[in-house]
């Protein structure tokens, strides 16, 4: 494969230091690379450190030690302002509980990231309408999110993640709050976006959801225990530590 590496995680460790002097080592020497256009599912038991890893990948947090290189930039050397720009332009976020602003219109929600790129009001609205078409929500732009179903809300959130044409989308349990039928719809949308060249990294507990991905990374107790094709995964292939 001639695709370039967009995510390069080298010896990443993360330790949380809590009040009272105790600390908890959550990620232990994690290494992997993700190339442009991949569709990766991160799996693992509850509390294994998946969200912690996603936060680091999404530049919301920095590793305690080790290196994280995103699109050739060493994240450790970036200040808050530069990280905000990276989050706004290179990355799209999709959350488990959608995180929409319920008192605003759907168009306002979808176009929110554009505000921070200093895009004017009319263009924001037009691009929001355009993006809503892509996620199959034509004509919903002026309604509040409270009037639509959970699956549709997540599609609004995906439209919001897509609005800046990001290279990568990070989704932490995007189907965690949805029933299986709606989950399938969302995963088909992700597959569609992946086919268009967007790199997708998502966290999930569910095997059905993970099946949409081509590659799987499994974390257990802060260690990477599997990294390979999803369809080749079996419990026996996990590395024991």
């Amino acid at each position: 494969m001639a695709e370039k590496t967009v995510i390069d995680v080298q010896h990443v460790c993360k330790t949380y230091f809590m009040e009272g002097g105790t600390s908890q080592s959550v990620l232990k020497d994690i290494n992997f690379q993700i190339k442009s256009g991949e569709f990766v599912a991160i799996m693992g038991p509850s509390g294994s450190g998946k969200s912690t890893l996603m936060n680091i990948l999404g530049c919301l947090d920095k590793p305690t030690s080790g290196k994280y290189i995103l699109e050739g930039y060493d994240i450790a050397s970036k200040d808050d302002k530069e990280l905000a720009v990276i989050r706004g332009k290179t990355i799209g976020f999709v959350f488990q509980n959608f995180n929409l602003m319920m008192k605003r219109t759907i168009a306002d929600n979808v176009s929110l990231p554009l505000i921070y790129q200093k895009v004017g009001e009319t263009e924001r609205y037009n691009r929001a309408v355009e993006m809503l078409k892509k996620v199959n929500l034509i004509g919903y732009q002026d309604r509040p999110p409270s009037q639509i179903s959970g699956g549709m809300q997540q599609r609004v959130a995906i439209a919001r993640a897509l609005i800046n044409n990001p290279a990568i989308i990070f989704a932490d349990e995007p189907t965690g709050n949805l029933d299986s039928k709606t989950s399938d719809e969302i995963m088909e949308l992700f597959t569609f976006l992946n086919k268009q060249g967007i790199t997708i990294v998502l966290v999930t507990h569910e095997d059905d959801v993970a099946d949409y991905a081509t590659r799987m990374i499994k974390i257990s107790d802060g260690h990477k225990v599997y990294d390979g094709l999803r369809k080749e995964y079996s419990k026996e292939k996990e590395i024991k530590c």
Binding site: G58, L60, K81, F93, N99, M101, I115, Y116, Q117
Partner: protein
Amino acid sequence: MLTAIIKEAWISIASYKLRTFLTMLGIMIGVAAVVMMVSAGQAVQNRITDTFASMGSNLILIGPAELVTGGVRGGRGLPSVTVADVAALKTLKDVETTSYLMNAAVQAVYGSRNYGVSVKGTNPDYLAVNNWEIEDGIMFTEKDVRAAKPYAVIGQTVVDELFGLQNPIGKTIRLKGKPFTVIGTLREKGDGLMGDDQDNIILMPSTTVRQRLAGSPRPQYTGIAFVKATSEDKMELVAKRVEYMLRTRHRLKDGVKNDFTVRLMTEMVEKVRSVGFVLSALLAAIASISLIVGSIGIMNMMLVSVTERTREIGTRKALGAPNSWIMMQFLAESVLISFIGSFVGMVFGIAFSQLGGHLFGYEVPISIWSVIVSVTVAVVVGIVSGLMPALKAMRLNPIDALRYQ
């Protein structure tokens, strides 16, 4: 970018209407109170200044000496300045004119009506010295003074009380049973500084008062004498000359205290005005306590808002909001609240002070100070009370904010 921030801030505060309104109310009341107090203070100060101006500001007043016994003021001494002294003072350099008063409080009678009035025996120059004008008829002349003519020039209150709608000119009124002919009326002046009625006045030749109303037991002395300087900046100089001349005429040896007092009207104006200023500053200071309460209200609301919207803040940061943007948005929210509150408060403050002025018969100025105070308050209160919540929002860790339930 600023318009986008303000727009976002506006939408946010508009989505919590009741809470926003109640918070604004605090600032509204505060600003309205300050504006009203400042206006009231200014109205009183203006009234004071106007009153002195209507009395003539180039005036030097000469009265009896103050009696001092053992360092304690003990009232006034006997009148010491004579009519002849006053006439002599008129020859001094830079003196425009001089005048004097002999006062008597008597009951004036016309037909079946009667009214208690203040009679002032004086000379024709009194009009010029004290900024009086003749409304109708004429003023008596120096010749009338020499002849002690029984002429009366009456103020508007006396006109109203004794004559009603009748024309008073040429009519005869009685004071202490003696007849006096009304030859003129004075233009209305309105209330004086202490709420006294300046128009309840009858002017007569000083000689007439002395002879017919038997006011003073020492008839050649004046109660109070006025010297009007040609201009305000000559007053100090004229006062010195007056003092020198009176000391010479009264044959006072060096080291002997003056048997009269010399006061400048300008000094008195300044004194009263500075008291008025301190008073209105004090009122404004008290009113601004309600502003502090109002700004605590904003701070409280913004802190609640930041906590409630922790997730929103986390989401915005995850979607690329720089910290500065988050801070500015929350700051803009508090500044908007205080700006609108101040503006409405200013409008109400001005409206109420005009209404109050109308009710109490005061001319209340719409001063630039109300606007300056309101705008300053809006910005300062908005920033001061919004800064802490805005910094709190800015410092929120996006991970913690997104985990927040």
